[in-house]
């Protein structure tokens, strides 16, 4: 089981799922129509480290964060 958190303005509660890679996570999240427009512009962190590869392998207990467009300052 891994956990997916949606940060900032996305306004969706965290979900848990089975997933072997980030590609599996992408496939499952795309089933939620409300999330599709966010996914195009969101970055992804795995256990608080930014990741850029869909083939990233996931392990039980991993935590994925979905980070929408930012504007600090």
């Amino acid at each position: 089981m891994i956990k997916v958190e949606f940060l900032g303005p996305i306004g969706k509660a965290a979900v848990e799922m089975e997933a072997a890679t980030l590609a599996d996570v992408a496939a499952k999240l795309k089933e939620d129509e409300m999330l599709v427009p966010w996914l195009e512009k969101c970055a992804v962190a795995l256990n608080d480290t930014m990741v850029k590869d869909l083939d990233t392998v996931l392990n039980d207990g991993d935590r994925i964060s979905i980070l929408p467009p930012v504007c600090g300052g």
Partner: protein
């Protein structure tokens, strides 16, 4: 890295950083102070921060600055920051001015592009995501 609930005490932060580096023999100290502008009838801006990723982003910048003989600092507000008060102070200390002038520019621009902070306009007490002024972080769209 310092995070505060509500507006920053800019003078306290500026002065404390100055004092803490008073004997470090840096010749140049360049702070950047970001203040909330009155525009489009907002009462305040409001901020969410994801601290674990922000801390890593900042730690990497400390390393980059160190490799150039410099130091970076930053403070940011969480939650509501009223118009004409400050949400953000960052700074560079370095032995010489060129490195300081270049680093403050790079540091502030990368902060705007990649620090995991979300901004909301506050109008009539309501929080509205500032989507049009926000930037997708490096690597966005991975799951699309």
């Amino acid at each position: 890295m310092e995070l505060y609930n509500g507006p920053l005490d800019v003078k306290e932060i500026f002065g404390r950083w100055l004092d803490e580096e008073a004997e470090s023999n840096y010749g140049a100290y360049i702070p950047f102070v970001g203040t909330i502008r009155a525009e489009e009838e907002i009462e305040a801006l409001s901020f969410d921060i994801y601290e674990p990723v922000l801390q890593k982003w900042f730690d990497e910048w400390q390393e980059r600055a160190k490799a150039r003989g410099a130091v970076v600092r930053m403070a940011h507000a969480i939650g509501d920051v009223p118009v004409h008060t400050s949400s953000y102070v960052s700074a560079v200390f370095s032995p010489k001015r060129r490195v300081a002038l270049e680093l403050i520019d790079e540091f502030v621009e990368d902060f705007k592009a990649n620090a995991p902070i979300w901004k909301y306009d506050v109008k009539n007490g309501e929080r509205i995501y500032a989507e049009d002024r926000s930037t997708p972080m490096d690597g966005s769209g991975l799951l699309a």
